[in-house]
């Protein structure tokens, strides 16, 4: 009981002391080496690749880790309360720029500070996530790079390979915010291009088998957005689709390796490099408010010839040539 009241007393004294300190200590101390805080949502090959790319990008612009820039890297391992604590940590150590990898991480950062520059790494839809006022002119302390797949080029690719397609199916995870956002954009795009789109959503990988069975019997081709859940169960989807001779067009190259037919995709590592370069520019004094969100318009061609053979589809020669020259071919 004494301990209970003792701790309450200590906490009150501490808070009182901290209150007085914080109120009087507004001027920040000057630092020699700039600090960059990187907050990553969770460990994942794609996100890790972005992290590596950022370090490389900073180095290309003359910021070498350990020499003239300090990087505080924090991985929240998908825990919401960690995001909050880690964002507070960055603000507390007076970071010169903060980078958020994946949407929740970026939101936590944006919520922690409205003054420290924040660079978004791999946020599909910054405006939709209320992180910026507009993608072309952010207007606040936030800018960055979008990992949005070049949807229009991808749809064109599908049409090129499947000229007689009547109905296109899309499958995504409803609990994945960025996948859902891509679905909405893709749906709008299909409407403009007069492509008939049928949507199928899953809650987790357990649903995939049944839902994909139903899907492949109703569509001529399947599109998969950047969706970590579907990606992790790609084998299941490909098996069901191949049985019905329905090709799967994923948004990401790794899913082509896992059995998808073809894609024009963004290289996650290069995405990170761009993010790193953008951060370097901000460290040199560029204002986030005037830096438009960077979108990748053109992707790299990746094709899987083994899948094509199984499906009995002959890929157009131009596609194969493009993949051989600038992209990747899986046999």
């Amino acid at each position: 009981m004494k301990r209970l009241y003792g701790l309450i007393a200590i906490l009150i004294v501490f808070l009182g002391f901290a209150f007085v300190q914080e109120s009087h200590q507004e001027a920040a101390t000057t630092k020699k080496v700039p600090t960059v805080g990187i907050l990553q949502l969770l460990s994942h090959p794609a996100l890790d690749a972005i992290h590596k790319g950022i370090v490389h990008g900073l180095a290309e612009e003359g910021y070498h880790v350990g020499k003239n820039v300090k990087i505080d890297f924090q991985n929240a391992e998908n825990d919401q309360s960690n995001l909050k604590t880690m964002s507070a940590r960055f603000v507390n150590e007076d970071a010169d720029a903060m980078i958020g990898i994946a949407t929740p991480a970026a939101q936590a950062l944006a919520n922690a500070s409205s003054t420290t520059p924040i660079v978004l790494g791999a946020i599909t839809d910054p405006k939709g996530a209320h992180l910026v006022k507009s993608n072309t002119h952010p207007g606040n302390n936030v800018t960055g790079v979008s990992d949005q797949a070049p949807l229009a080029s991808q749809l064109k690719l599908i049409q090129k390979i499947m000229p007689n397609m009547k109905t296109l199916g899309i499958i995504y995870t409803s609990s994945d915010d960025s996948a859902t956002a891509q679905y909405h954009q893709f749906a709008a795009l299909c409407k403009r291009e007069h492509v008939r789109l049928k949507a199928y959503s899953i809650a987790n990988t357990n649903d995939l088998n049944q839902v994909s069975q139903q899907m492949v019997s109703q569509v001529d081709a399947v599109y998969v957005p950047t969706d970590n859940t579907v990606a992790s169960a790609m084998q299941t989807l490909v098996a069901t689709a191949t049985a019905k001779k329905v090709p799967v067009f994923p948004a990401v190259d790794t899913m082509v390796k896992a059995g998808g037919l073809a894609t024009l995709s963004i290289n996650q590592y290069k995405l990170g490099v761009t993010t790193g370069k953008m951060t370097a520019a901000i460290l040199k004094g560029k204002k986030p408010a005037d830096t438009p969100i960077h979108f990748v318009r053109k992707g790299e061609m990746t094709i899987n010839l083994k899948t094509a053979k199984k499906l009995g589809i002959t890929l157009p020669a131009s596609v194969v040539k493009e993949a051989k020259q600038h992209g990747e071919v899986y046999r």
């Binding site: 009981m1 004494k2 301990r3 209970l4 701790l7 309450i8 906490l11 501490f14 808070l15 901290a18 209150f19 300190q21 914080e22 109120s23 460990s43 924090q74 991985n75 929240a76 391992e77 998908n78 825990d79 919401q80 309360s81 960690n82 995001l83 909050k84 604590t85 880690m86 507070a88 940590r89 603000v91 507390n92 949407t103 929740p104 939101q107 936590a108 944006a110 919520n111 996530a129 209320h130 992180l131 409803s174 609990s175 994945d176 915010d177 859902t180 956002a181 809650a203």
Partner: protein, 299 residues
């Protein structure tokens, strides 16, 4: 120093969960898994309501009401449907996931640019992190006070008796089914309220934010009990809040020691398991003596 203030603020905000779970875990004496669903449910409700222009305070109270409805469902399944409480809780928790997606319309809704309980002139004028310290203290004083008052009423005494000795409670004319349902409603209402607070503090609600919530709430209760020893019921309720703050300190220290956040869940579970096994250690190792020497300077 700022980090410690931040930890205290977080501890105070998350303490609502501990008090909510205390009602079921310690008083009714069962583990209610519904909380893993009602926490994001409260967050989703508040965020959706605020996004649609509702006053943040009303939205937070609405979250309490919606959480209470989820508790009612668990209570009905448990008492009227005779489904074991663990299973009833898991069923409602799972169902909440779909409901949360429906409420928010997407997996993650941001509150950036919207008004929240934290965005007013007074809180903004405070030094950094003192907004959550102030609001958290206010909320915890009010909630702890209300719960203490409730437990001292005729009804509250009947509620305690239900968890303590059901046979006796029934033989004294206490409707134990209603007491359990009421307990589950208030408990889940508080957890949803906590979800609404945390979402407004974080600036967004995410459909996955309920994972591991029960461990955080349990940690507040159990650390509070282990750290402060023999207490009356009222003091134990206060100890939950302090336990929640101490838990945040532990997390802070673990991160400071250079552990990766990957290890946090493992470390949390180990700490909790050790705390819960303390009575066993006491018996075999005369632990109490060592513990006293370490903590109690008054002896």
């Amino acid at each position: 120093m700022g980090l410690f203030v931040s930890a205290i603020g977080q501890g105070l905000l998350w303490a609502v969960l501990g008090v909510g779970l205390f009602l079921t875990f310690r008083i009714l004496d069962f583990a209610d898994m519904t909380v893993e669903g009602t926490f994001p449910l409260g967050a989703a409700t508040a965020v959706a309501a605020i996004s649609n222009g509702m006053n943040p305070l009303l939205a937070t109270l609405l979250a309490f009401a919606i959480g209470a409805i989820a508790g009612l469902m668990t209570g009905l399944l448990y008492t009227k449907g005779h489904i074991p409480i663990l299973l009833a809780g898991i069923l409602v928790m799972t169902a909440c996931y779909s409901v949360n997606l429906r409420i928010m319309g997407r997996a993650n809704v941001s509150l950036l640019g919207k008004s929240t309980l934290f965005k007013n002139h007074f809180l903004a004028s405070l030094p950094q992190y003192f907004d959550s310290v102030f609001l958290g203290t206010l909320v915890m004083v009010v909630i702890t006070g209300l719960v203490i008052y409730f437990l001292q009423t005729q009804l509250g005494q009947g509620f305690i008796a239900t968890g303590d000795n059901q046979t006796m409670a029934r033989s004294l004319g206490i409707n134990t089914d209603n007491m359990k349902i009421m307990g589950l409603m208030v408990s889940n209402g508080l957890i949803a309220f906590g979800g609404a607070l945390v979402a407004q503090n974080n600036g967004y609600a995410d459909v996955n934010m309920g994972i591991g919530i029960i461990v955080i709430a349990l940690a507040s209760i159990i650390i509070g009990e282990v750290a402060f020893g023999d207490l009356t019921l009222n003091q134990r309720l206060v100890a939950v809040t302090l336990g929640s703050i101490l838990y945040r300190f532990v997390l802070l220290i673990v991160l400071k020691l250079g552990f990766s956040a990957n290890d946090l869940n493992l470390i949390s579970s180990i700490i909790l398991a050790l705390c819960m096994m303390l009575p066993v250690f006491k018996q075999t190792l005369n632990f109490k003596h060592i513990l006293k020497r370490g903590l109690d300077t008054n002896d």
